[in-house]
Amino acid sequence: MATAAFETPKLKPYPVIPLVAEGAMAHSKPYVASPQIQTAIGFPGELTEGWEQRAIAKMGELLDKYRSLRVYMDACVHCGACSDKCHYYLGTGDPKNMPVARQDLMRSVYRRYFTFAGKHFPKLVGAVDMSKDVLDQWWSYFNQCSECRRCSVFCPYGIDTAEVTMAAREIMDAVGLGQKYANEIIGKVHRIGNNLGIPEPALADTLAGLEEDTKEETGVDVRFPLDVAGAEVLLITPSADFFSEPHVESLIGYAKVFHAAGITWTLSSKASEAGNFGLFIGSYEQMRTIALRIREAALELGARRIVVGECGHAWRVAYSFWNTLAGIGAGGKDPFAIELQRQLDPRYKQPTHICELTHDLIRRGALKFDKEKNDDRIITFHDSCNVARGSRMGDAPGGQFTIPREIIRAVANHYHEMAPGTTHEATFCCGGGGGLLTDDLLELRVKGALPRMEALNNVVDRHGVNFMATICAICKAQFTKVLPYYGFDMSMVGGVHQLVSKAIRLGQPH
């Protein structure tokens, strides 16, 4: 589709907080989901008479279900600590992309209907009625938040705009206003098993092709098994790993790690997707239904370990929510949780990130590498938001930062960090997360990538960095698309296991 022309921001040598440019992104809106897409996943087809009351009723329901929303609607003091923290504000200057202003789009409605001050003194506290004009602003600006949680790091009360955005999107879905990209994908995952809509035969065919390619490259029979009952590991990976570049290079990397370590593994055609877009639209029920596929696949195949591939939001859902949603984890005392716990190997963390698995093997000396095979690459690492601020790896807090970096250092010789304040817990979103990875939001995606592009540009200039590794399917797809806008080569981005794949020793060809 054609996007209206826009100007790519200029890269500056140091970050500059833009001046407020009111309405700069007011035109940015995603496509609306068709009634077919909406009804297929249980939402009303379109906005109909009386939606205002239904929206307020839904807000009331969410306020009773989520402490986060209830507290965050009350606690903000407008201190402005978050005002310069969102990559979309930094890239566009639109003040409604300041987290506080984005939250206030909902807070002003909350105040009007749920607080004493807003009911009786609306003007004084900026309370407004729910109206079409308000909804239009919600539609625009709650689809300009990638739910990356950077603002929640800096808020003195930990107010997480992602929680507010998710609630807003759930309210909009509940009155029949859904986002085409996210809701169409959720339909596909229910119908076919993955976000890309790859049916089982095509998946089997692709994996057979990968076996051939890998045999050709290495001379070794590295397997890509599908639906193998009794395999030790069930690998749940984003479906982009099957078809997209550079994603597939990491899939080959996982397969080589399993091969070299002698771990039997399998993919599942039923659960051929790690991504869970239920998170993006804030729907607990959708997120749960999607997560239950993984549980069912694990039970059917009898897997002893569940390992998750390189995908940021998927890892947040897996690490933080799977135990809650689907009983994948430890510590559950109810029959539902115990059924799966009895099958899973208690010696391993369930679920395990592929980086945790590889890192553990490296530490135990089970993998050997020819690091110089990556010598053509000068590498930096982009922390993906959901991994950095919504999950963990390993035993200690911050393992999500050290483990991928230690893997990179174990498989390559040239590594440089981007500037502090742009990595670790303060990392910038790629600009395409949270269900915004769609061409109808391309301007937003390009501009939202600005802070990351500036940090990257600095290490390119200073150290000659030519490869930005990351462990997220959305980051990879987003950067592949937006790097060229900033004058970089799209092949500069790739996975951590893409580097592992290049350097790993597989033993003698058969």
Binding site: I17, S68, R149, K333
Partner: protein
């Protein structure tokens, strides 16, 4: 008993009731609303003890605010720390005999009034000088600052410019607490100061001042990071499994 004394006595009973009941209702709603998912902003502590420490750092040092904006932190921390000293110092008007720690804090509390006003001035200046903060400021934000500033200035005025009959005031306050009303001195500055304080008490449970209890209930800050080790299930979420 003058009409003034009766009016202020009733005002303070009402303000206290609204503050306590209003906060009680709000805190009850925070306690009773479940947090169905594990959403600590990571890296997060993995134990309850670690979480307690994280909250202490937030409450005492404003750790997150320090990371985000040094100016806001400076003025905000200065105001809150000074306010604490000022409030502690004021305890002497509500007790007889006065606790020793309250006697110790007297000198600091007196001069903290200036730091409080300076901090508020800095916070208010940001609302005019920083374009982003100007954009998000509402009439209510300005009024909150005006109210606190007026309380501080009227207090300092009574301490350093036009002294009020503090003995009589203390008798009035103790009388309120013992339900044995004593006359309130008809000093305009004092009446203003007390009126503004009562206003603050009334506004507290219906305004952004709820950030004070709210921060203890913020799931991104008060949850431990142990999602894989313990199953976390809210009641309404568990009912989906039935």
């Amino acid at each position: 008993m003058s009409a003034l004394t009766i009016a202020y006595a009733l005002l303070f009973y009402a303000a206290t009731a609204i503050l306590v009941l209003g906060l009680g209702v709000k805190i009850r709603s925070y306690v009773h609303t479940p947090a169905p998912l594990k959403i600590p902003t990571t890296p997060a502590p993995v134990t309850r003890g670690g979480v307690a420490l994280r909250l202490v750092r937030e409450v005492v040092f404003f750790e997150s605010l320090f990371k985000s904006s040094k100016w806001t932190w400076l003025f905000g921390w200065m105001f809150h720390a000074a306010l604490l000293l000022v409030v502690l110092r004021h305890l002497r008007y509500f007790q007889q005999p006065v606790w020793t720690p309250v006697i110790w804090v007297q000198a600091f509390g007196t001069y903290a009034g200036f730091a409080m006003v300076a901090g508020l001035g800095g916070l208010w200046a940001r609302r005019f000088l920083v374009d982003r903060v100007r954009y998000i400021s509402t009439p209510s934000d300005h009024l909150h600052l005006a109210l606190l500033l007026a309380i501080g200035m009227s207090g300092l005025g009574m301490r350093f410019v036009a002294r009020t009959d503090i003995i009589a005031l203390k008798a009035f306050m103790l009388g309120l607490m013992r339900f044995d009303w004593q006359p309130l001195p008809a000093d305009p500055l004092l009446l203003l100061h007390l009126l503004l304080v009562a206003t603050l008490m009334v506004v507290f449970p219906i305004s952004k001042l709820l950030h004070a209890p709210g921060m203890f209930f913020s799931p991104t800050r008060n949850q431990s990071d142990n999602a894989r080790e313990a199953r976390h299930l809210a009641a309404w979420a568990a009912s989906l499994e039935k």
